[in-house]
Symmetry: C2
């Protein structure tokens, strides 16, 4: 298997994406994660332009990386400045990494119009800077900025920029489509020419402004590039960088190239989610391979096909990248797939059971109100049981008030008062919280824990709010989705209302009811097992 | 300019995307919009599998389409059923559209394993069904499902499927990469072969499971396909369909092909946003051409370059697709770009003014708390003025309480009581609302309108909630962003807190303060103008 080197720049180019901002602590966590995952290079910052990056390079020395080489990024020296006196060069050296990535201009327009120097001096800047770092014993990656645009504008000059880097002793020539405007066929042709002309190994750095960064990277590798630069989840300036979470499985699963260890590949979806948490951006659900929908089937015929043979509508088995298959419900899903989900809750029902129609009608009416049971399996389960009259009432809420005042103080700015009844016994409790939902959650738990101490095991994992009818502004409907766990299981519940407190309340109580029900089933099973064990002794 | 036909399937394949669901009224609006935009075909539904689609086909007859041909989608007849007795075929005919798209199997595996008939009978099904609709006078598009996978598995059979469609009289042969697993170079090669072998024009239908649906469509067109199928914003099953909002500008701006009228192209960003509203999915901000970040610059060197010449870091001028340039602020943005934004508010400040450092410190501390001023220009403006002490206090909130109870009733489930002071006068008001934020908004306006009747002109456009620290679940921080308008201007404001009510409150009051300030400036300007006019008379 031919090796293709993965050069991750999430911490450098990725951090240029809108809304992406990593603390030094985040950056250290990410470095560790990328190293464990098995990328070859971690480009971690630009010490010359960002003081926070310098602090990171100090801290990161304490980490022992097993797979990746740490890389610092910076520009060539400025025009008409001696290389050893250039501030950026000095900062880059101070970062003290085994690898440096030096970017230089290869588009004549940028040389004369943006950095405003002569074409000749720019070549000197490239040659000098690369040579300087080679003398210091570094592995030097030369990033030819705007290489593809440069080649179209002045092919001889663009090639001369690469020659200058080679004369300086560069270990890598990376061709950058900085503005993301190049098409796959052009990338393939140009990479092929460069690979033929130079002995130094070639890399590709693509941006997604034409929606083709992944394809451009693939075409470059097929044309002879042996290093791919990109970011986790495609974070990056404007439309983002080439997405490594798509490129890695594309090449490793479909072109039999080796990018990361196979054991890492099945951690890919986890990696993508971990990064989206740290970057504080929700992961695009449509994302190839790793998105929540990547293997979600909604059309009736598709679901039917996948039930017969998963290869019918899946290009790879989702397990290979640590993702999983989901069957969605909708008006196009067809009765059979909804029936299948209903039967998971109530196995005694058949296609002909009249109750099935009742459940479908109830689901349809809730969907009309804005509910979506994709990702809210807990609530789905409860709807089925409630419609069947098969849910015992664990508790009843008799009264409930939430009060929020403008005495904002950290920790306590809202109060909830709740009165519940369990098995004929009433209990009234109050609790303060960070906000109305938090106060409500605390009060409800406090009241119910007296009756169901097992609730101590359960906690909320995630709380999401989505406005689903924005044209109404503050009077719009909101959909609240909650994810809860008891340490083993994870389940989702949902609530919809024009009132965020009501929507949260519905999702919260569903979550608790679902837990109590599942807990009771587990207990019943344990008792059965115990009885069986006793009989066996 | 060579014409490439745009075949939109947002209403059919797009509606198979997770969370996408259109009402009949939505579908009619979308049809009108697509027709105005200038696509050539609107594939609007599958009348055989979805009863809601049938209702739509009835209603749509009342619309007069100017550009697009309405298309209904359905499968070939079933095995061993006469074509005129097949239910799907009958439904398709009943839809009464000028064009029908018939999909049939071209992958031998699907024939024998999924629909479970003989290879021979499947070819009959294709031939018969196409011929039936040709006899009825329809334009027939044959969608060869899984064509690329089929060709790899059994090339002769896949080609025979196309032959059968041609024998039936198909007007178009569309090659579908249904599972989205095919690579651009393979698409190009296969399309070239088919175009050479058949006289019937060829189309391409790609899915995005390898992140290359756009590239595959482009490669197919460059290889001779003259019809591109896709959806607005790439909505569709699993990872989505090929995104027309990327393909259209790619081909029209960069390959000099004609897909839609040029006047439509500069409405592209508006189209994308309109569809995301109707689909109730927020538009991916990274989306090429139409995303909110597509022309947003964050890196200091990039901003510097763009200020010198926009072509330095933009592959096209954003106006061509109706989008716009944005300069973002961040630690990598560099002082100069933040200074530029500060100077827009306070033009008298220079780089050296000590106030600039105060403002930067204040912004940094707010960003640390979770604020993001990208998209919240109103709040940014107020932060600058407040730090400078240059904001007159339009009102003061003395006291404020919100109460929510479990008497959920549509329209009124929360109450807010607010006490304000304006110019020494106090006013207390209460209002009910759909939820706490709505009640608060109403009470505040009611109180302030007495003093500032111009507030009647202002209204909220959008209200967004984002949980920014999900690991804390209900005690997490939320970021509320509000967009407001006075009918001419649109401005954004922001609030961050662990308490959703407080966060909303901050964004709401900022929005009102910003409006009052701008209104006062306008009035001053009008007075100046009037004085000048009087002097001139």
């Amino acid at each position: 298997m031919r090796k293709i080197y993965v050069f991750d720049t999430t911490l450098r180019d990725g951090a240029q994406g809108e809304g992406v901002s990593f603390t030094v602590a985040d950056k250290l966590k990410i470095t560790k994660k990328l190293d464990e995952f098995g990328v070859d290079f971690i480009e971690a910052g630009n010490p010359g332009s960002n003081p926070k990056d310098m602090a990171y390079f100090e801290e990161v020395k304490k980490l022992r990386l097993r797979n990746a080489k740490l890389t610092a990024f910076g520009s060539t020296r400025r025009a008409n400045v001696a290389v050893e006196e250039d501030q950026n060069v000095t900062a880059l050296l101070k970062a003290d990494t085994p690898v440096v990535a030096i970017f230089g201009k290869s588009w004549d327009f940028h040389v004369t119009q943006i950095i405003r120097t002569t074409l000749e001096e720019n070549l000197n800047m490239i040659r000098d800077t690369v040579a300087f770092f080679k003398e210091k014993g570094k592995e030097v990656v030369f990033d030819a900025e705007h290489f593809f645009d440069g080649l179209k504008s002045n092919p001889i000059y663009a090639m001369n920029a690469l020659h200058a880097a080679c004369e300086g002793g560069a270990d890598w020539l990376v061709l950058c489509d900085t503005n993301g405007g190049t098409f796959p066929a052009d990338v393939a042709g140009i990479v092929k020419t460069v690979v033929k002309r130079f002995d130094v190994p070639v890399g590709i750095h693509s941006h997604n402004d034409c929606g083709m960064a992944v394809a451009n990277s693939i075409m470059a590798v097929m044309a002879g590039a042996v290093q791919v630069q990109g970011t986790v989840n495609g974070y990056g300036e404007r439309c983002g960088n080439a997405n490594l979470c798509t490129i890695i499985p594309n090449l490793q699963l479909k072109k039999q190239l080796r990018l990361v260890p196979d054991s890492s590949l099945c951690e890919l979806a986890t990696l993508a989610r971990y990064f989206s948490e740290l970057a504080n951006k929700s992961l695009n659900e449509y994302e190839p391979y790793v998105g929540n929908n990547a293997f979600a089937h909604k059309g009736g015929m598709h679901i039917d096909g996948v039930l017969k043979n998963t290869a019918s509508f899946e290009h790879i088995p989702p397990e290979l990248v640590g993702n999983s298959r989901r069957m969605l419900m909708s008006e196009v899903a067809g009765r059979s797939s909804i029936l299948k989900r209903i039967q998971e809750v109530a196995p005694w029902l058949s296609k002909e059971s009249p109750e099935v129609q009742d459940i479908m009608n109830r689901l349809k009416s809730l969907e009309h109100d804005g509910y979506q049971f994709e990702g809210a399996e807990g609530s789905f389960d409860l709807v089925v049981r409630r419609t069947l009259g098969k849910l015992r009432q664990f508790f009843q809420v008799l009264d409930f008030t939430v009060l929020a005042e403008n005495q904002w103080k950290e920790g306590n700015s809202a109060t909830a008062v709740i009165k519940v009844e369990v098995n004929g016994e009433q209990e009234i409790t109050a609790a303060e919280g960070d906000g109305p939902v938090n106060a409500m959650d605390r009060a409800l738990r406090r009241a119910l824990e007296l009756f169901y101490p097992q609730l101590l095991k359960m906690r909320l994992l995630d709380y999401k709010v989505r406005v689903i009818d924005t044209q109404q502004a503050t009077a719009a409907k909101v959909r609240v989705q909650i994810e809860s766990t008891d340490g083993e299981r994870v389940w989702g519940t949902i609530g919809v209302s024009t009132n965020i407190i009501e929507a949260s309340w519905v999702a919260l109580t569903d979550s608790i009811e679902y837990f109590l029900m599942e807990y009771e089933k587990d207990m019943a099973l344990t008792k059965e097992n115990e009885a069986w064990m006793e009989g066996a002794v």
